[in-house]
Symmetry: D4
Subunit: 251 residues, 8 copies
């Protein structure tokens, strides 16, 4: 039921063209979604700030080109994740305003015109070179969600002193996303050093007992570092969304 229809119904009641019993019946017969969910959607501030997001995996080249073309024609912001390189390049050629990030495997089409000022406070930390695609997916998503992103990369076990050297950067962050594969110990170490919320992102980097990321995931979940939470394996996108919820909801 559109707002216009509701208004007309109420006017009919006021004008005695519809009596109260019939109006009650009409309202009671609304399916939930007709009224409730649509409205909720319109009022939700986050969704207002969110671009359309398309999960690229499992979609054909044709489907992806069509979806982005449709959104571009509506001048909507759009973020496509998990893109194959050839489709990414093709999108970039078709939509010069968009940004194809081959490392992150994302294509982002911003809204024409001036962007609002990004919300500061997010730090993305990653352990190894092989974790970069996931870290960058988080960074691109966060940028598309209106967050300013700081990066602290390549601070895994071999370079743990770099982590300690950046104590200032860690302490200033308001939310920290930590991306790590293998045994996934980095988020626990970070969570032990700061008071900001830490979101762990296990990656599928590793072999054998790494079990495709399950070991990193389970390690983060069982870590005794209080206050850390976790998202799915390789889910940089989800971590950025969670960071956005925390930062946007403030003040």
């Amino acid at each position: 039921m559109e707002i216009d229809q509701l208004r007309k119904l109420l006017r009919d009641v006021r004008n005695h063209r519809t009596d109260v019993g019939a109006a009650i019946e009409r309202l009671a017969s609304l399916s939930t979604g007709e009224l409730g969910f649509a409205r909720i959607d319109h009022h939700r501030p986050v969704r207002r700030g969110m671009p359309e997001v398309i999960f690229g995996e499992g979609k054909t080249r044709e489907q992806l080109l069509e979806i982005v073309a449709h959104l571009a024609s509506r001048r909507a912001r759009a973020l496509v994740t998990r893109l194959d390189a050839d489709v990414g390049r093709e999108l970039a050629a078709l939509h010069p305003a968009g940004r194809w990030n081959p490392m992150a495997r994302t294509f982002y089409l911003p809204r024409p015109g001036r962007a609002s000022r990004p919300i500061p406070g997010l730090l993305i930390v990653s352990a190894g070179t092989a974790d970069l695609p996931v870290a960058e997916e988080a960074a691109v998503t966060a940028d598309a969600l209106g967050l300013a992103v700081e990066r602290l990369y390549d601070v895994g076990v071999a370079g743990i002193h770099r982590l300690f050297e950046q104590g200032e950067q860690l302490r200033k962050a308001r939310v920290i996303v930590v991306v790590a594969g293998m045994e996934g110990a980095l988020p626990s170490v970070v969570a032990g050093l700061v008071d900001a919320p830490v979101i762990g992102v296990p990656t599928s980097v590793g072999y054998g007992a790494a079990l495709g990321g399950l070991t990193a995931l389970f390690g983060m979940l069982t870590s005794c570092a209080g206050g850390m939470t976790v998202v799915n394996i390789d889910n940089g996108f989800g971590a950025a969304c969670a960071a956005r919820q925390i930062l946007a909801a403030r003040g």
Copy 2:
């Protein structure tokens, strides 16, 4: 929002005590559930026929006694599953109208007065003696849901000829629930013999490679016998509910 409140609001619109804009705002601020879901609940025929069901596992003796006492005082039908024997006996002593089934680990409190006529067509088949508690949970639940239950027990591998001997009983059934542990092959065999819908219930009976019922579950799911569906391990209750949906929705 109660119906009276809605009526009052619409009358206020009609009487110009509330203008249309304010009424729209008031209606738009309703949470979904206040209007929509309550109504859906009242119209659902199955829920009308369903007793209150209490899953006993993980509830304390005190909680269970209190819940049943409350339902009994409202003269509601109630079915409690996964009951420990001592609580079952205690409930039976407190509520003489109820039926404690130690094999099924259920306590069923029917509504005082005459029961409606049960819906025929359900056959419950089980493989071994150790599967009986699950088969009986299905049978007690089906009875509480208004179904007439036929039983064909102990027709596992050792007694497979009994299954073939009962071809008539199998062919007359309109829905068959087949309960089996170990490798869980019985439902496939039954599904290969009949045209009625077959619901497989894997049980946790077995050891070693039986993996607590997972092998029976996976075996049923991968069976090539077309048209069989499956519920959770040891979930006799769920199988009876599914049988009820199929039989009740007919005609």
Copy 3:
């Protein structure tokens, strides 16, 4: 033993050419299948309505072409599932009466002549775009089994309001097949809204903790929505068969 042989044996008994003891011995030496199973097969109504089904996965191009050619020469209906695109196209070129569905990965060869009227009442619901191949496998199979199929696609979490808007369509369905990957929550939501039997089909869509569909499968199995049953991961075919059993067995 052919019926003619049996008749001859009995005539020999009647004509005293064979004595009773020898006839008993002869009958007792029949293997089960010679007599029993063949007869059961001939009497099964569903098998009469079923097309020949060929599971394409693991069969070579040559095997598939030969099987379909053989069935076509017998004017039998045939359904091939899990086809690679090139074999599908080749079959379509060879058998113009057949229908190659690249989304569903099926090739269906109907029987020449008029089809009987399809049985109504099946609704297939799917969550996301990536679940469509499985949903379409269910739809094509159901069509081949003589069911009329309604579709309600793309009503996952992001579009849950679409589900609620289609309350009427949900309530009118007599069986609902719900296809969903990731965490597989959609079938439970649907089962909570309707009284018809709901068959959940988990898909292998998702990554990381989705475990190739096991998480969706386990989620559906543990769902507390009573009366839902489940088939194997990506098994649209099996869900359609189960729906057929339920609808065909009715009245």
Copy 4:
């Protein structure tokens, strides 16, 4: 190295009692912890606000009594989790100022004197009665961490309309902890309705395919509801810590 020792060393340098080379050597020989970590500890605001936490599982009765007695003698706040009932009761008898919560299996010993004002904004939602111990562990922990806790319990599938009815309470919350076992779908539903950060806590409630909480855990991780994060199975404590990080770090 105590601050006094450092001061003395520097004074010795100033007074030429120690030359620069020797001082460098002395400073360079400090183990990291002697200087760095101790200081970091003293500056961390969250740790200042944190009570001592003792994980009770795997500790003997004697160990627990002794630890709490020691902390009580130092007038320190202390929180013990995963307590067996008999030790809990014994602690309550020994320390009348403490609070033994048998449902949450916690013992909390507040600091003598006036508590500071709790930080508002946390809502704890739980699905079923069997999830209450975990929800209460979260609630007791949050209280001990200085948060004001609102509860919305028993809003699982059977009572989903209660969830929708409490839209206001959901929308006002600044962080929501959602506790659910079985298939663990509730956090996704909540995350779909609000913009606040949602922390999912899977519980080990369920049987068979619930896999001791792994299914709920995996379901939450693969949920497509953006912005949700997850903690370990049954880890109400960790969820409260994470909520504290989010709320305390704000503004």
Copy 5:
């Protein structure tokens, strides 16, 4: 259909009291089992040699006492496995002719009268003391099945020289059952030394990475020692049955 009924039918045909068409119909309407399976059962030589076997796990004391009493009254041989000690002792007291083996957890009731001569050739090898219950279950079962059993126990890694010392015993065996937990390497070693068929029985002995016997099971299955086969974890009973099939079928 009893043999008498069949004889009567054929006589009726001969006597022209039943015509051939009616007899065909009558025979065709037999369910498979009525004729076929019963007969097959009577002709199977192994089943003739087999005692009745009752799997004790999951059966109540009452059920077990009743089953054994019934079989004893029919003078049938009976073997009960996986017995709790108290029921075992009770059975032994009630049936003095029976043998209760607390290590094997079996109760065996031989047939009154002279036993036939046991078939030689079976050697049962076990690795450690903790594997003895499974080895003894195999030994008792083999004895009940009419096999003569030789034992070679406690030849695990620590005592591997004992294995090599018994080369003669190994080489003379016609079938070898090897029982081993932990990493389950013993059967492969034995299979590498002899030409007789080797049946591996993994046990649930071990902890941690032993995974309740799965590691031993998988290790035996992946062993490169050709010609070894495997039964379920702790399934001494099944190994003895397999040995019986091999030895009995010979010559």
Copy 6:
């Protein structure tokens, strides 16, 4: 130590060129293998009958060509399994006396000259078309091991009556290898019908809950059909070896 060396040593003792102490020392310093294992190898009848077997998987084309060329030059029999098609064809071209079986993925090079008469009694049963490669690997291996092979293929669930029709063939077999994927129920059914030893070979055929063959494997292991044993997933080779051990050791 070659036999000649041993002889020389003993002659030296006899001729007093070596005293007893030195001879003892020399003999005691033999590593086990120098004496013991070599001898055991020479006396083992099965190994005498065995061709050289090369597991092709994980070996390079070069390695395989070289190994076979070496064996051919020694006029040794050789069996290569798990061959890629191109290497198989290449071997067939290089060694015209050899047999490349593309279905079984084997290359077999018999010994020049007359073969001894094969041992009868092996029946290989398989469930579906997709299981044929494994069944044929078993058949080719058995042939190379000197067994005469009978085949009964394509008797899975859809064609179960074919199995019953072949009761005679089943009953005459002295060992039966049953190859089946999916839920793996066929070996149990066969084992229930015959007294010969049954060796189950689970295959990796299937999808989703088939878990790459683990479900078939676990199903066979937990089957209650006594006397069945199991080999690794897709291990047709091992099943043939086990059959050989059983048949060759007889009489």
Copy 7:
């Protein structure tokens, strides 16, 4: 074959009482173990230093008492692990010279007389209080194997500064055994700080995603800290043995 028998045989050769051919046959008929393995056993230095070790789990009280009594009567050193408390106390009462360690669940019976001087260099580090039983099992075993043990306990995440403070102790160790449950990160941290070999011992401490120690095990195995090795979950005994191999083999 005893050394005396061998000597006699050679003398017979020398004295021409046995000819060379017969002696060759006699020697060739020796089973491997009779000569080879026994000798190897006698020459192995580690086994000389090792006490008899009895794994207590799965052995009955009677078996354990008898084994220890037998060893005590032979004045052999004995170490019993995984003892139940009551058997431990009983052994301590029976053998006053023995040491019952209830935390480690071990009973150690040293050899009467003076012990040799322990080998220095082993440091055992543990993470939490709940890991102490495993750490102590390692310590008691190491002591029984002749190693001097230093302990550094309770240096998990909460007390990580203690670890850094003990840099000296870490650097002086020649082998470090690190015991940790939960996510098992401690061994990696230690391995990153020192050059000595580090042996990680995962424990079953933890819940939910800790998976009974598998997460700690997998985490240690995938750790990128080079040079660390791992033993089974809770296997303090094995870690001490490995440390002994390293320390004893030196110099």
Copy 8:
């Protein structure tokens, strides 16, 4: 903080240009890493001996070429593991001083000039041909770490006598790395024969129940051969590092 800065600060204190309080504050504000970790790094002897190691998997061709070029320009030793063949060949062409090992998939760039003398004592044993890449990764790494490597390859089950024949080589080794796939029994056999530390390396060689190396891994972990430790599946690199720690730390 560079050493120069620290010196300047102390001089300022001495010269009264900075007072003690300010200097304390300055020192206290150092992040841990600035002082502590850098120093530790410089003093670690192993790291001094270690080449730079680059894990090639998951890095692009461009990244790898650039990293090696950078290290070559600094005349640093470098070891790249898990290289694809084309990148390996390209590196070999660009850096003629480097060694590309296609079997091990490694590229090693030694330091120009004379190498120091390798440390003896390492023996690498492997089971089958398919295990060679992992064994060679260990060998190349060990060589790069300054160890002299002996090899004993192809001594799996089929060639176990070769293992026994090489008793001398086994006994002389000071550390033994044993590489084995399938059921992974070889390390246990070796550990049972020697007193040197044995490091097991499970490989992913095998199929079906080999579970990608998990069975070999679990088998090694549960082996009762005392004193063996284990590294990750296919982790030849890690085993060589561990061997280096053991050998380098000696004497």
